[in-house]
Subunit: 426 residues, 2 copies
């Protein structure tokens, strides 16, 4: 027996696999006393897969964040079932995830500042670091080599090697406050841009920064100030061209043309926001939830029971659709034909589906109590919905609106599929 | 030792893996004579991965078709390198590939009517059937359960179980010819639609058909006739809404609104085609190559050294960009900022890059002789280009236009990455 990986029915090209999990297995095996044969086995397997792992593609995998227990449930969207759990991730309230470019690893950003690299194939923690005091999200560089975490505390961005989670760049969000003192701003709305760059907003400094890490030893940060008061979240349009930051401190949206950043930030949708009446807002909507169908964007109104329709050529509002509550996530099915909406408390046990051809409500569903998130499979035939207070995730067929599977999960919040690895600005 | 898969650091949920490849390995091992231990090992491993396989994600894998030798080179876009070869696929001239929803398996449609299911993890042929006389492409249903092959000979579509390649539905493209006789049309431009449906065009019958396989035992076929003369290829717009078929027998494009198919086919771009002068056309462009950036589509002109710019709101031509030859593939980088173009003979050793902000040529490259295809990594930082007559594939950094890797391949043609599994209508 040779110490190589053999590919049946193919010519072989040498490759290195993960040796780590095998080591554990080898030690366990040696206890049986068959040392000689096991040494031979070890030689044969060391460069290959650990035998305890199922051989499988990663394109249909994902994870559900269980905020109460600090663990993840790993799921398979073909089987529509969980296949493993991973514990020990710390405080996962409001945690988010991004993926390595091969779809094997998830990077989880926790509210305790933890950054955890989870292996979806071995269902284990590959690496975990406490990188900050309070992280609300992150991004993977376009080339997959860097992971950036956006921190509230200490305010700034930290950039890590995607393989090792070694810190490679620290980018404090230092600014001069009104009283002349130096402070660090909370960072929100981080996204990757082409060419090892990250864009993010500084809540306390009314700014958008772009960090270029082409040379990780000498990052270059471009700073755009006075973009509007208190950017609280942001997104990149699906075509990759515009960065849009919602403003907490005033109405309107700050829009930056990423193809022509020198033109500066433009204000659009002047009436988008809390308004002069300062309506009670039970939960600020997530901007990542904006949906684009054709040339129109569907936005969660703030404080109102409405979804706004915006023409993306003129950036003007062209319609409003009455919905069942204050919208939180407004997300398009990948083909754009439907937009699914969940709501803030007290209407958070419903989900509504907008037909984008008629801009009317096609369906109202009640998946369970406290719907926190929803995620479409990449081609849109299923949507997975987390109902936190019913401890379950419900999977719907988006064509028939029939529930096709229900999974138990402890206080599930975010749901993230590996297909996110393929998307820009996410 | 227990007969289960162990996930280090996690709670276990039972799963079945591939037992097939393990069997071979077990037989080989039994020859060493350590029967008792090996039986225990077999019990422990049977439900898990074969030890000869590297454990890895599939999100960054792909394949290069080597048309001359009937084999595939499997590639890794993170390493920018080949990792295995798979032979025995028959006639691969003009072969195309689609992927299973987990990204593990490629389905290859060959000109000899062969449909081959290739396992990218074991680098072997999982299954191969001769399903027709001459296939030019296929599609996987949105839910991943069905594979459809579009055939020239005998004209029609055959639908297979994606797991087993067992034939589940045969849909002959039978039509009544001008002389009243029954004939079978060649089928082109097949794509998946939401809900286990496939759409395709009948070259000889001037028709577009939609097959609904919700019930595979009783497929329903909707037939739309008189769509224009000789549809030769087709595509679905990236937003999933429109099916567009190019016409060989006359100018113009047949456009079907998939959200409102009852409205029938509309003719757009009346001047798109070979024109009244009947220009010499060295190679009909591939419609799959149409690029959309923002609200504009970039189309290969037929017979002319131009790329056409079309406004997708009005479906009118709004510009023409002079290029170095008759364009074949016109493909947008995933963020839409660049459109890459290759050409028919005699200009087929060049590739040009259009900047979609200015609609001018940003770069002219000479990757090698006889450039047949190009494929972007899903987030667009790399493009892989096959140069058939130089027996190589060249990988470019799309930001700098620098070649970053060169791979040897025998007469490479199509390049297909697993990220296609995530796309609708592809």
């Amino acid at each position: 027996m040779k110490g190589i990986c053999l590919y049946p029915g193919s010519r072989k090209i040498a490759r290195q696999g993960a040796a780590g999990p095998f080591t554990t297995w080898a030690i366990r095996m040696r206890r049986t006393g068959q040392a000689a044969l096991l040494a031979a086995l070890a030689a044969g397997l060391a460069a290959c897969a650990a035998p305890g792992q199922p051989l499988r593609g990663t394109g249909d995998l994902g994870l559900v964040v269980e905020r109460a227990s600090g663990q993840l449930t790993l799921v398979d969207t073909t089987a529509r079932a969980p296949y493993a759990q991973v514990a020990g991730l710390g405080d996962l309230s409001h945690a988010s995830a991004v993926y390595s470019r091969d779809g094997r690893y998830a990077y989880i950003f926790g509210r305790d500042g933890g950054l955890t690299k989870v292996d979806l194939l071995t269902a284990g923690i590959a690496k975990r670091v406490i990188q900050g005091g309070n992280s609300i999200g992150g991004a993977v560089s376009q080339d997959g080599t860097l992971v950036a975490a956006a921190n509230y505390e200490p305010g700034g961005v930290k950039v890590f090697d995607a393989k090792t989670l070694e810190l490679v760049a620290d980018l404090p969000a230092e600014y001069t406050a009104a009283d002349g003192s130096k402070k660090f701003s909370r960072v929100v709305g981080i996204a990757d841009l082409p060419g090892r760059r990250f864009i993010y907003s500084l809540f306390d400094a009314d700014a958008i920064w772009i960090a270029d890490l082409s040379d990780v030893k000498a990052p270059k940060v471009t700073k755009i100030g006075k973009i509007g008061h208190q950017p609280y979240d942001a997104l990149i349009t699906p075509d990759g061209r515009y960065y849009l930051a919602g403003l907490f401190g005033e109405d309107g949206i700050a829009k930056l043309d990423l193809w022509q950043p020198d033109k500066g930030v433009e204000r659009v949708l002047a009436h988008y926001g809390r308004g002069e009446e300062k309506l009670p807002v039970f939960k600020m909507p997530h901007l990542r939830g904006w949906a684009v169908a054709g040339n129109r964007a569907y936005l969660p109104a703030i404080g109102r029971h409405e979804v706004l329709v915006v023409d993306l050529t003129t950036w003007k509002e062209v319609g409003r659709i009455p919905v069942a509550g204050q919208p939180v996530f407004v997300m398009a099915r990948p083909d754009g034909r439907q937009v699914w909406v969940n709501f803030a408390v007290p209407d958070y046990s419903r989900v509504q589906v907008i037909d984008t051809l008629t801009n009317t409500i096609a369906k109202t569903l009640e998946p369970g109590k406290a719907v926190l998130h929803l995620e479409f499979t990449p081609r849109g035939e299923q949507v997975w919905i987390s109902a936190r207070d019913d401890d379950k995730v419900v999977v719907y067929d988006t064509a028939t609106f029939a529930p096709v599977a229900t999974l138990a999960a402890k206080s599930p919040s975010g749901i993230f599929f590996t297909s996110r690895a393929n998307r820009l600005g996410f």
